[in-house]
Symmetry: C2
């Protein structure tokens, strides 16, 4: 008989500690290097401290290219990476619905451990809560990240200036399209695999190739590439020009988007970095990005027209304004 | 008409940023000192780094003595405090069920801001996810904490030795009893007010009065005082002797416990510190604790008998073994 989570697993007593020991301590042992405790104490490191958090409620929990466990590590590690930080440690908190299989939890924990190891981060502290059937939906995971930023590194969209070049680390829209397909709402001959992945090496490569010409980095998650660009236009007061034809999108993501009337620029990604760099460093950064992913591309530039707005140049000489996503996007994509 | 949360508030687009701005940035402004961003960068501090996390799913969200917002700050700040850390910053992640009132969210955020200010911590980064009606239960909050531990401070139950004195910072069981009553499952003439509160000053007072005679600190949350003592007995290999009559319990918590056949030693607290100190420092620590809360008490000692077990001496010369809570406790007490 399959063993499942009961409310008693959330009591804080013996069943909770047995569960933590079986599922998390055993699985995270390599990455944690110590028992998962209420609080972990680490040696201090060099540089400033970066802190970040994300909650993950993706549905379904398993999808082509990843699962909620991998996503919960990538998402938080990537937030640290695009802040220019070296990711050091993560905490993890689980909200589990009564009835979830313990084997599934072990699979998710194993996926987290693998991804944490690849990212070079330790999983140092955790918490587990159980809610009644119907008060959750399987498993929700919240991770928080701690990283270290080298002194002197300043990344901010407020430093954008006209002439800066905009680049993206790979084709966009695959995560959200993969989730759509995984929900069985539409079907396609070839499956779409989520871009869910780590951006640690990508961020490092950009900073190495771009040096102090790198203005800012961001991962384009919910709201997609367009939303990141809108936020940058807003905080910098500059205009951003994007050339539609240069934004890399795979044929299957294009097909799904056309079928459903979606715009790939607004589709969520989980492993795509956007950067703005000084023009004299753009070639070097583009080469560094393409060495990691051949679909990386230069997609536009910062202009001194269209202040605080993002303009998208369509193929035939037309232009449209990109605005922040106004709602109605697929719920629970991450 | 009351404004409520819709799935579109979780899309990552304009509605998400409006919500974050209205509810969190506006409310947390004092405590954050900056916009809530994906990642925050702070100056480095002195000492080792403490990291911790907790998820909060308490039901009901508002109860005598607190609410889920206050609880989500106290819980994580207290985990830092009992690790011997000075709490510095917290991250917060919300999982909100479609249909929750925006005014209620603002009330919860205000409660968090007040408590964070009192604790001297900044709320530096956050995330908001929305799930469909029936896939959550109102609001779940996960906080993660970052603090700094003075070099040289070593607190661990592995340092317990026979003769050490056990103390608790106040009467036990009030949080869980308050939640029970707030659910309306039983009624009592006088309401019970949760002990939900900060342990920053308490931990500081113990460390100041006890110096290097302080072996370890813990907050007795889920599983209660008994579970903390069981874990200490297990990790130290020592026996712990508790005198039942010395454990402070209010008359109303006693009454509820008797009525429902519960043991106050296993009831959850949310603002109670347990400590073990060397015998020569016990008087000073007891005085320091009683200055903060007159109900604080010396409740027992570490012995060289009954290895790895907790024995409770009942009034009439009898003894019972305290074991970790085996399950069946009230779900969602924190």
């Amino acid at each position: 008989m399959e063993r499942t989570i009961t409310l008693a697993h959330g009591s804080g007593g013996r069943l909770t500690s047995d569960l933590v020991r079986e599922v998390f301590v055993a699985t995270f042992a390599d990455s944690a290097g110590q028992a998962m405790d209420d609080a972990a104490v680490l040696p201090a490191g060099e540089g400033r401290v970066a802190l970040t958090t994300d909650a993950f409620v993706v549905k379904p929990r398993f999808f082509p290219g990843g699962d909620i466990g991998k996503l919960s590590i990538c998402g938080t590690v990537n937030d640290l990476a695009v802040a220019g930080a070296r990711p050091v440690a993560l905490t993890t908190a689980f909200i589990i619905e009564e009835g979830v299989g313990i084997d599934e939890l072990i699979t998710i924990a194993a996926s987290m451990a693998t991804c944490a190891r690849e990212a070079g981060v330790r999983l140092v502290a955790g918490d587990t809560k159980v809610v009644e059937r119907g008060s959750g939906d399987g498993v929700y995971i919240t991770t928080a990240g701690y990283g270290l930023v080298a002194d002197g590194l300043q990344l901010s969209p407020t430093t954008l200036r006209p002439g800066d070049v905009l680049l993206v680390s790979g084709d966009v829209g695959r995560h959200e399209a993969a989730i759509l397909l995984a929900r069985g709402q539409i079907s396609l001959a070839a499956p779409i695999v989520s871009d869910c992945g780590l951006l640690v090496a990508t961020a490092r490569a950009v900073l190495k190739a771009g040096g102090d010409g790198v203005r800012c980095l961001r991962d384009a998650t919910r709201g997609g590439l367009a939303t990141v660009l809108c936020e940058w236009a807003e905080s910098s007061g500059c205009g951003l020009l994007v050339e539609d034809a240069r934004v890399p999108v795979t044929a299957s993501v294009s097909a799904v988007s056309e079928l459903l009337g979606l715009d790939p620029l607004y589709l969520a990604n989980e492993g795509r970095l956007v950067t703005a760099v000084a023009p004299e460093r753009a070639d070097a950064v583009e080469a560094a990005l393409r060495a990691l992913d051949p679909s990386a591309a230069r997609i536009g530039r910062v202009s001194d027209a269209a202040r605080s707005r993002v303009l998208c140049e369509t193929g035939v000489g037309g232009r449209r304004v990109l605005d922040k996503l106004a709602g109605g996007q697929l719920p629970r994509i991450c």
